[in-house]
């Protein structure tokens, strides 16, 4: 799966939880879930669970805590996909 494909899938997953729609227009690796998209921390849990379902991976607590930006999520997904 290419970087772009992964990022597009992440975008689709986060959309229902985004409170700052402007943040979606410029959706890139640097996009920060809490600040740029204003997804609250409780909904970020739902994002992570949706990521698990979409990519068929399991995300542990440590990975979750390091998932601040779209790029972080992409790297974690790629790592998990490789070791699956």
């Amino acid at each position: 799966m290419s970087d772009k494909e992964i990022i597009n899938k992440i975008k689709k997953i986060v959309e229902p939880y985004v409170q700052r729609l402007e943040g979606l227009k410029n959706f890139q690796e640097e996009t920060d879930f809490l600040n740029d998209l204003q997804i609250n921390s409780a909904n970020l849990v739902d994002v992570v669970l949706d990521v698990e379902d979409e990519f068929d991976i399991e995300i542990d607590n440590d990975s979750m805590e390091g998932m601040l930006t779209v790029g972080d999520a992409k790297s974690i997904i790629e790592r998990k996909l490789m070791t699956r």
């Binding site: 609250n40 921390s41 409780a42 909904n43 849990v45 739902d46 992570v48 669970l49 607590n61 979750m64």
Partner: protein
């Protein structure tokens, strides 16, 4: 089950749990009788007391999410037992009125408990066993840094 009631962080006039009827790792059933003397009936509504939806939601959250959450945390370490909790979201449907003095039963099923968030599907039934309210309620355990 008595132990869970003692651990609840609420007291009168904001405790909305009387009894836990059943509990396991995935679900809980509890009951509460709305006291006809509650202050809010004087104003909701004028001359026509009906239990406010926010109070029904609170009752469902206390039984369905907080009591179940305490049960799940009791299996974990001491740190988590002392954790503070917060309501994070509710999505409710109110189907029938609940009048002063009515006894309700709350049934909650865990959807997930992960990354410190407990999300449950919760239903409330009146004494005729008819569904009065249903929805999804989530709560989170706050990390130590948010305490104080």
């Amino acid at each position: 089950m008595q132990e869970i009631l003692e651990q609840l962080p609420y007291s009168d006039p904001f405790l909305f749990v009387d009894e836990i009827l059943k509990i396991d790792a995935d679900s809980i059933e509890g009951s509460y009788t709305f006291s006809a003397n509650s202050e809010f009936y004087k104003g909701h509504f004028k001359n026509h007391p009906v239990t406010p939806g926010v109070i029904l939601t609170e009752c469902m959250a206390q039984i369905g999410v907080v009591c179940l959450g305490i049960h799940l945390l009791n299996k974990e370490d001491d740190d988590k037992r002392k954790a503070k909790i917060a309501l994070t979201s509710t999505d409710m449907e109110f189907l029938k009125p609940v009048y002063p003095g009515e006894k309700v039963k709350v049934v909650s099923t865990k959807q997930y408990f992960r990354f410190n968030k407990l999300k449950c599907r919760v239903e409330m039934f009146n004494s005729e066993d008819s569904l009065v309210c249903r929805g999804t309620i989530s709560g989170m355990i706050l990390k130590n840094k948010y305490e104080e």
